[in-house]
């Protein structure tokens, strides 16, 4: 048995370190360490409740709007504010733009470049993929970066500045859009659709969103476009056998409207193939292997205090558990919970393997979601009624407790807030990658990535094995959110 340390990881947000025990050319055990801690939960306590809107989003420069949405939702849960339809629509539009941008960055800049490594040079798909996706020199970046920048003009129109927008408030958004701006939003989504239909999908969005079975996906994979190119190489490399994990999939629900959410909250268990309501009260955080002092497991009661000397600890991240069990979150969970038949089919059990997620389905779910979201956002922009209010007056909360639950691009994000005399008494953040990259818990149960890495073949390449990179990146980690 040899022990390898992999890190620093590039092309992930923030710092990550893996410790892998290798036996007979395969990973026998993995430990995932978040090596960065800033203390946001300590910093937020004692400040005026509304200031969470400016401090909390700065946890992350990549998913800052999701953090902002969660902070606003937590304040809303305490004060009882109710945004008007325009406020919800505008926030959803901005949130969709951020999440789509994240998915694009992940696919083009973080995930695909690993397939351009020299070790794949003999594969039939290699010349095409390397020309498109090679880091820094690949042609795809020239297409995707301008399209992404143009999409993010949405943030300018709706939220002023991004990252770290300020416009999302408990009662709605601060920006009332006028007709010219509504037209610009529609034009931006139109341009973005053109990019997707030409470059990423090479097919109409409606046609992509309608793919409902693995067989239809196979048919689509014979066509043009970057997504089809991925599907082909995914098949040939058997990415559906890589990084497998069988854990409950959770979603906190995203893009809320009065009539319900586009992607509802819930739980889907791929082992049994069944969906359930999400038992929010069963969420707890374990710190047995974290550099933190022992504290209440309930996020509503916990106070975070670092303990750099803690014995056996190896990560700054906590270990979130749902009824004592790790859970996976992200686009694959969101789509499985929402009832997407393609995603459910791809994670279903078959041929002697239990149901579960894998590298292939995590990426497919993310890219398919781009199509769904782009379609929805286009519709939301058209639905804005400019003569109606964008924000309800929401008095700052004085006393009470609440949870702000949203879906960031990477999955379930919750802010647990309690307010006393107008000041923040406790603030706990459980981020998507905290779930996915959690360390072991007191019972010794490893987190989702730690489980997904076990059995991965490293061969002679050891820590440099590309399979390790594929598994880690298939979760699209955001390490700065993880330990905050």
């Amino acid at each position: 048995m040899t022990r390898l340390v992999v890190g620093p990881f590039n092309r992930v947000e923030g710092d990550l370190e893996l410790t892998l025990d290798i036996a007979e050319g395969r990973v026998a055990e993995a430990r995932v360490a978040t090596t960065l801690y800033r203390g946001f939960e300590q910093i937020l306590a004692g400040r005026p409740a509304a200031d969470a809107l400016t401090i909390a989003p700065r946890i992350c420069g990549i998913c800052s709007l999701s953090q902002s949405m969660a902070a606003a939702a937590a304040l809303r849960a305490v004060s009882g504010a109710r945004p008007p339809p325009n406020g919800e629509l505008a926030a959803n539009i901005a949130h969709a733009a951020e999440n789509i941008a994240d998915h694009l960055t992940h696919f083009y800049l973080f995930f695909m470049p690993d397939f351009c490594r020299a070790c794949y040079a003999d594969a039939a798909w290699f010349p095409e993929v390397a020309a498109r996706f090679k880091a820094v020199s690949g042609a795809a970046a020239q297409d995707v970066l301008p399209a992404r920048a143009r999409l993010l003009h949405v943030m300018g129109l709706v939220a002023g500045k991004w990252p770290h927008s300020l416009a999302i408030q408990p009662g709605g958004v601060t920006r009332a859009l006028d007709l010219g701006e509504k037209m610009r939003l529609i034009a931006i989504f139109g341009d973005f659709r053109a990019f997707l239909e030409k470059t990423l999908f090479a097919a109409p969005l409606e046609q992509v969103a309608a793919i409902a079975t693995p067989e239809q996906l196979d048919d689509y994979a014979q066509g043009q476009g970057d997504f089809a190119a991925f599907l082909r190489l995914g098949k040939s490399l058997r990415l559906d056998e890589l990084g497998r994990v069988a854990l409950p999939l959770i979603s906190f629900g995203a893009y809320h409207r009065a009539q319900g959410a586009l992607f509802p909250a819930g739980l889907f268990d791929p082992r049994a193939g069944e969906a359930r309501a999400l038992p929010v009260g069963a969420i707890g955080e374990d710190v047995a292997f974290s550099f933190l002092h022992e504290n209440s497991a309930d996020p509503a009661q916990a106070v975070t205090l670092p303990n750099a000397e803690r014995e056996n600890a190896y990560s700054w991240a906590k270990a979130p558990r749902l009824a004592g069990e790790p859970a996976e979150t992200g686009a694959v969970a969101r789509q499985a919970v929402a009832g997407d038949s393609l995603i459910r089919a791809l994670i279903a059990k078959g041929r002697g393997i239990p149901g579960g997620t894998h590298v292939f389905v995590r990426v497919v779910a993310r890219v398919m979601e781009i199509a769904r979201l782009a379609l929805a956002a286009e519709g939301w922009a058209r639905e804005l009624r400019l003569n109606e209010s964008f924000s309800e007056h929401a008095p700052a909360p004085v006393r009470g407790a609440g949870i702000g639950m949203v879906e960031a691009a990477r999955g379930a994000l919750g802010h647990w807030l309690s307010v006393e005399k107008g000041l923040i008494q406790r603030y706990q953040i459980v981020a998507p990658t905290t779930w996915n990259f959690s360390p072991r818990d007191a019972r010794g149960i490893p987190g989702p990535l730690e489980q997904a890495l076990v059995g991965v073949e490293t061969g002679a390449a050891g820590a440099k094995a590309p399979a390790i990179q594929h598994v880690v990146r298939s979760f699209d980690p955001c390490m700065v959110c993880t330990a905050h």
């Binding site: 340390v5 890190g7 620093p8 990881f9 590039n10 092309r11 947000e13 923030g14 710092d15 370190e17 090596t35 960065l36 801690y37 800033r38 203390g39 946001f40 910093i43 400040r47 005026p48 509304a50 200031d51 809107l53 400016t54 401090i55 700065r58 992350c60 420069g61 990549i62 800052s64 800049l109 090679k134 880091a135 820094v136 020199s137 970066l145 301008p146 920048a149 993010l152 003009h153 300018g156 709706v158 002023g160 500045k161 991004w162 990252p163 927008s165 300020l166 416009a167 958004v173 601060t174 920006r175 009332a176 670092p306 750099a308 700054w316 209010s389 924000s391 007056h393 820590a463 700065v480």
Partner: protein, 363 residues
């Protein structure tokens, strides 16, 4: 990677045309306020000077600076600057990984000793011997000191590297410390903001790489060309401030009319940055245009200057330019809400008087 390669060589190698290159030079010269001959100067420098390597390091941070940087206005600016700095080392977007990445870092350091620019995003936490930010198995602060020792100059990106930012907010659990408190023997240029504006970032990089020196800095170490004016000085809502017309609630009638956000907590009158002129997301907007006040994210200590949703109670003076500079310096001393309210009333009456003066005689 040849040492004598010029920027222009690199740019051409990246497939950027001559025409695009000259366009980039004029755009950049204009954004830096270099005047009529500026474009030619930029072009000449890029064609003849050897490329200066840039190392981009990440400490305790949130990656918002990188995120801002890769979306700079003209797609070309990004391309050219990316090729210029070529990201010899950047944690977030570079191709290499792990040990290979550390090897590149070491190689650049040795090969370009005393010549490279070190761009730092985030800052080092000093508590617990730097354990709150471990990079490649050792504290970031060590890596930072080591890389700084052979650098020509250091760019401190954003509020974290410049001042500390939110992670340094009370009680500053990790003792997050700005770069200039750790590195004291190198020229440091601070480019504050959370994050800084993309065009400000590319402007700074281009200036340094073009002219081989730092642009003119103010007393706090910020480039004067971007940080010499307050948001308030060039705010498009300024006339409403002077007229005493304020938003009282989000999306109220005053908000719909684009009135001043001072009463909603806007920190524009005490914040030095280019947001109201350069704007954000390719010049589309900036926080005040989104109907939310400025939170002063480019100012030292902004994170502990809340509440963010109550009006500034410590402005000494406004509406009168003679005291503009004092405002920025005087923010530390609290003067009281009364003064501000009084001044607002004064501003209203001043406008009224003017109006009366100009009213044409009737009858």
């Amino acid at each position: 990677m040849s040492v004598v390669e010029t920027f222009y060589d690199v740019i051409r190698r990246q497939g950027i045309t001559r025409r695009s290159f000259t366009k980039f030079c004029s755009l950049t010269a204009a954004s830096m306020g270099l005047g009529a001959t500026g474009a030619a100067k930029v072009a000449q420098a890029l064609e003849t000077k050897p490329r200066v390597p840039v190392i981009w390091m990440h400490g305790l941070e949130c990656t918002c600076c990188s995120e801002s940087f890769i979306r700079s206005a003209h797609p070309l600016v990004k391309d050219v600057v990316l090729s210029m700095i070529s990201l010899d080392y950047d944690d977030t977007i570079m191709a290499a990984a792990g040990f290979q990445a550390d090897a590149i870092l070491k190689e650049t350091r040795e090969k370009h000793k005393g010549n490279y620019i070190l761009a730092v995003e985030g800052n080092p936490p000093l508590n617990e011997d730097g354990m709150f930010c471990i990079d490649g198995g050792r504290p970031f602060v060590e890596k930072l000191k080591e890389m700084a020792s052979d650098a020509q100059a250091i760019i401190a990106w954003g509020a974290c590297a410049s001042w500390g930012c939110v992670q340094a907010a009370k009680p500053n659990p990790t003792q997050a410390t700005p770069i200039d408190k750790v590195i004291t023997d190198k020229p440091i240029i601070k480019v504050p903001g959370c994050p800084p504006i993309a065009e400000v970032m590319t402007g700074v990089v281009t200036y340094i790489l073009t002219f081989g020196r730092l642009p003119e800095l103010d007393r706090q170490g910020r480039p004067q060309m971007f940080y010499s004016q307050r948001i308030h000085d060039k705010c498009y809502r300024r006339p409403h401030f002077d007229a005493g017309q304020f938003v009282e609630q989000w999306d109220d009638e005053n908000a719909r009319q684009g009135r001043c956000l001072y009463k909603m907590g806007c920190k524009g009158p005490t914040t030095y940055n280019a947001c109201s002129t350069v704007r954000w997301n390719n010049g589309v907007s900036f926080p005040i245009q989104s109907g939310h006040g400025c939170i002063g994210c480019s100012e030292d200590g902004f994170w502990d200057k809340g509440p963010f949703y109550e009006r500034l109670s410590n402005i000494k003076q406004f509406g009168v330019e003679a005291n503009a500079d004092k405002v920025g310096i005087a923010v530390a001393g609290a003067v009281g809400v009364g003064v501000a309210a009084h001044a607002a009333v004064t501003a209203v009456s001043r406008v009224t008087v003017k109006h009366d003066d100009k009213a044409p005689p009737k009858g």
